[in-house]
């Protein structure tokens, strides 16, 4: 039963130009446990030429929403309700009623789609041109005219059209593929573009660059864009309107600025608070309690009521219909108590804040403190000079880590950030003895960790091996899918606590599970990894490392694969465990907001890596608030914020794509992209300069920090193709 004060979404639609309307659209799958509704009677009008951001955590039905728009729900699922498409001229089309051939035409020509898995969308044995030609001819388009259009599109996306068209998919980087895919989806001039996590696999800078490109493309081609993501900050700036999905229904739909500033739904508010970002005070960030419901078993009434601090009897029985919230007419919220929501939630948060906000620590390492692990000029190279006797190509040695030195102290936190391929993971693995450096030394408490080891995979010294552990990025593969939680967690106990018998091990494991908030532990101990959620897997992986009682843990993108709202809770857990076990963390992340949260809360440091070199390292506050290196500044620019910025800054990099690793730039490696590069940067290599002051430690490798450097007298580097355009208009594509 639905009550609603205003049939807002229906009324509002009359005045505006709607391109797609969804009426009571549901998607369900029959399962042996019962029918599972993965989209539950949603209503929305998508307006022509808007950018609609759809936000949802995993398991909120956001991918099904995308599929329903195109009637592309995979086989056993069924779509009910109406999906009506209004062409610019002509009669409305009921998408669910289209025949197969009509559908084929409809997708691509009217609405096209870009998915996250760009890699799998390409046929590896066909060139990019063939992909375009095939798409064009499959839809009876004029191929020559289409290719011309494709070239324009590629150009708009800062790709070299001719080169791209002749390339094969494997020759392109992830970001290039994603851009080619966008061009491909636009080549048939669709009216609407549906993007489902299109940038999820990409680096910060690439992600942000694509987002800004989308804005331009939308304007140029009069597109309607539906951008579906779990990452709220990512679309905050881009979208005109935001729609928040929770438990397969919309929780709130409204203009982006209103939702961000005055969210009316308790869930939206909680989500905003749970999202790590760069500007909000740390105390404001807190996880959402509880978990999203099971699609088979959606709570009656408001589906958010088990987690909602404002829930009352009405919420438990009556499904809240859309209420008009806010000033603008088209802000709908599905909550009975939206008016109270703002004040009450503020209060609820302040209360719970007071009792358990983990105090921000300040790990102050006096200069004479003994480092726990110390890296000295570490260098790691991969590949061989020549790969085999049939390999006539040039040697393909890649230097992943190039002469990095830094120290990790006891109870320390260091977060390495950088784009993929910058060597941060390799450096991390080298630091914990899982990767043998080709040059340089790593010392654990003044002992060379590789001393006496012959192979490349095992450390000789048991104690050092125990002291250095790892927690992996992908919760999916960090646990052995064939073992139960019990055996997974028994492994470290068997190895390091042989005195414990089976009962002891079980007790210890139960206690640990309970400690990290997995309950009831008796139930979980017999589960297999596929029966755990992402957050639970990550917790189990953390416990496994902790049971060894290590001194340093490498957390390799430990939270990147999790939903935004879970990240804070896992990071809080890491901090808590760090306290309880007296360990240090070396964390690797591509996300500056996560890095900031972890480092700032523990008083740790952030190290910024670029192409195998450490370009800046310092306390979290310094790196975030006062970055000195142009690359750190670029990363900071690329980190999406939870605000609408009316005046987006210029893109601070000259080229989007990272230089070829086999052909490193000379001098300062960043000079090919650095906006401030001068001739000196081409030839000389900057060293890390200590800039520490009372605000915190900071070391930066850029000539600009030295006021007397000859850099200031040399000529700025100008790109060859200067023609008065903005800097970022020409791009040296490489790769």
């Amino acid at each position: 039963m639905t009550i609603s004060e205003s049939d807002a979404s229906l009324v509002d639609s009359t005045g505006t130009d709607t391109i797609v309307e969804l009426r009571d659209t549901s998607v369900s799958f029959g399962m042996d446990r019962g029918e599972s509704r993965v989209l539950n009677e949603v209503n929305i009008d998508i307006e022509r030429n808007e950018i609609l951001g759809v936000i949802g955590e995993s398991g909120s039905g956001k991918s099904m929403f995308a599929s329903a728009l195109l009637d592309a729900v995979p086989a056993p699922g069924t779509t009910t309700g109406d999906v009506i498409y209004h062409p610019e001229d002509g009669d409305p089309v009921d998408v669910t009623g289209l025949s197969k051939s009509e559908l084929k035409q409809f997708r691509w020509e009217e609405i096209s789609m870009v998915f996250q898995g760009a890699m799998s969308s390409f046929n590896p044995v066909r060139s990019v041109r063939t992909h375009f030609v095939e798409t064009l001819s499959a839809h009876d388009y004029d191929v020559d005219a289409g290719i011309e259009r494709a070239k324009d599109l590629l150009e708009d996306l800062y790709l070299e059209p001719e080169r791209m068209l002749e390339s094969y998919p494997h020759e392109l980087s992830g970001g290039m593929k994603q851009r080619v895919l966008i061009a491909l989806s636009l080549v048939l001039e669709p009216e609407m573009l549906v993007m489902d996590e299109p940038t999820a696999a990409l680096d910060l800078l690439m992600q942000q660059s694509i987002i800004s490109l989308l804005n331009e493309i939308q304007e140029k081609h009069d597109l309607t864009i539906v951008f579906i993501t779990h990452d709220l900050p990512l679309v905050a700036d881009l979208s005109d309107r935001l729609a928040v999905l929770y438990a397969f229904e919309f929780a709130e739909i409204g203009p982006a600025d209103e939702i961000l500033e005055r969210p009316a739904h308790p869930y939206t508010r909680a989500l905003l608070n749970a999202t790590p970002n760069l500007s909000a005070p740390l105390e404001q960030m807190r996880p959402i309690e509880g978990e999203s419901p099971d699609p088979v078993n959606i709570p009656p009434g408001c589906s958010y009521h088990p987690r909602c601090p404002l829930a009352d009897e009405q919420c438990k029985s009556i499904d809240p219909g859309p209420y008009d919230a806010g000033d603008s007419r088209n802000h709908d919220v599905y909550c009975h108590h939206w008016e109270q929501s703002i004040d009450d939630l503020e209060r609820a948060f302040t209360e719970s804040n007071s009792d358990d906000s983990p105090a921000t620590r300040n790990a102050s390492h006096s200069d004479d403190a003994e480092p726990l692990v110390s890296l000295e000029d570490v260098e790691v190279q991969f590949g061989s000079e020549n790969d085999g006797w049939l390999d006539f190509g040039e040697s393909d040695v890649v230097t992943a880590v190039d002469g990095i030195s830094f120290d990790i102290y006891e109870n320390d936190v260091v977060v390495l950030v950088g784009e993929s391929g910058c060597g941060k993971t390799t450096l991390g693995k080298t630091a914990v003895g899982l990767q043998r450096p080709t040059d340089g030394t790593i010392e654990y408490k003044d002992r060379d960790i590789w001393k006496g080891s012959s192979g490349s995979s095992t450390l000789e010294d048991e104690e050092i091996r125990r002291a250095l552990q790892i927690v992996h990025q992908d919760p999916g593969s960090s646990l052995n899918s064939h073992q139960r939680v019990r055996s997974i967690l028994s492994t470290p106990l068997n190895r390091w606590h042989p005195d414990l018998d089976g009962n002891d091990r079980r007790e210890r494991i139960l206690a640990m599970l309970e400690y990290v908030g997995i309950s009831p532990p008796e139930d979980y101990i017999e589960r297999y990894p596929h029966q755990l959620s992402g957050g639970e897997k990550q917790r189990v992986a953390l416990i496994r490392a902790m049971l060894v009682n290590p001194d340093l843990i490498l957390a390799d993108e430990a939270v990147s694969a999790l939903d935004v709202s879970l990240r804070v809770s896992i990071m809080d857990l890491m901090i808590e465990l760090q306290d309880a076990f007296d360990t240090s963390f070396l964390s690797v992340s591509h996300d500056l907001s996560n890095a900031r949260y972890l480092a700032e809360k523990t008083g740790g440091r952030i190290g910024v890596m670029y192409l195998g070199e450490l370009v800046e390292i310092g306390s979290a506050e310094q790196i975030i608030q006062n970055p000195q290196h142009p690359y750190t500044q670029a990363l900071r620019w690329a980190t999406p914020e939870l605000e609408q910025d009316d005046d987006p800054d210029e893109n601070p990099i000259r080229t989007i794509d990272v230089p070829d690793q086999k052909n490193m730039p000379s001098g300062c490696r960043y000079h090919t992209r650095c906006p401030d590069a001068r001739e000196t940067c081409r030839t000389q290599k900057p060293e890390l300069v200590d800039l520490s002051n009372e605000d915190g430690v900071q070391r930066t490798a850029c000539f600009r920090v030295d006021d007397d450097h000859e850099y200031w007298d040399s000529e700025p580097i100008t790109d060859d193709a200067v023609d008065g355009d903005e800097d970022d208009d020409h791009v040296n594509v490489s790769g």
């Binding site: 446990r33 983990p358 095992t458 052995n480 009962n503 139960l510 596929h530 957050g535």
Partner: protein, 372 residues
Amino acid sequence: MKRSEDTNQFDGRTSDGLDSGGDLETKPDSVEDILRSDGGTVDSPFERTATVEETRRDRIDRKLKDYLWTPWSIMRNDWRAIVGVSILVVYLLIGTVGVYLIDPTHPTHGESLVGPFEDWSHPLGTDQSGQDILSMTVYSTVPILQMMGAGALFTIVLGTGFGLVSGYKGGMVDTVLSSITDVFINIPGLPLVIVLSVLLEPEHPALVGVLLAAAAWAGLARAIRSQVLTLRGEAFVEASRAMDVPTISLLRKEILPHLMPYIVVNLVNAARRIIFAAVALYFLGILPYSDANWGVMLESAYRAGAVYRPDAIHWLLVPMIAISGISIGLVLLGQSLDRVFNPRARARHERSDDGKGSEPESEPNTTNVTQM
């Protein structure tokens, strides 16, 4: 099938939220609360031990549960497993108990070429020289089973061993082991077996089995090696390496379970191949023999022209049925064992016992609609 990220919610799971952000000192109560039944003494959950010593019985129970009861209750629900296991059990019984119940036979035991079901002292009839066919079939089960067992085990042990070690160790070890494997892969199997059997004149069935498998293990070794190469890079293997888990138990506990379905299928196929090969070689008269077995029976029936003689057709049919029967049993068992090693099947079976729901095998996935 690749799981899309939206599918996690299908797995029954409970709390994801950390119930308290407080640190250790602030929650002595909860630590007290979670003291478990046997009352181990603890200050923190990280030092908790049980007060009750684990007995030998507990350990045996646990192992039994993992290695016997769970597999069995998965297989119980699969008709292929039931039929397959039953067939193999029948053969085993024939090979063990049967030989005590049925007297051995000898030429002129009965009349020549008695048809089946005519004379109940020879239920399946006799052959040309008057030997009882039932008795011959029963007595040839023993060498055939020995041959099959020895050959299949040899293939699996050698193939898996070579594959595991060379894939995991890499480097020099890999080079040496891979070269050996390649040599065996490239030796033509049949001529090798013929040459070896002429040279060695194997009489014992187990030896014959090993001989027949001499070239078969190499293919398995190569396939396993390439799978181990991928598994070696997986995060959970790296984590185990970081924990300094000894190589042997790492291979056994982390890597082997992933290969088990593959190994089992190969085990069953190897067993079938051995039987077919043995029968074929006996039929061709390449392998030396002293006792009757199915292959020998076929050969002599064929030579006596049983193909054209309706009165001798049973002489040919009985060993053929015996061979097909065991082969079908093996195929069915192989198919059903696949599920035993699937963690999803294991978990599902357990939860349906608890009366909880099971989960879907396939999940909605949108990645397949990208190319339209």
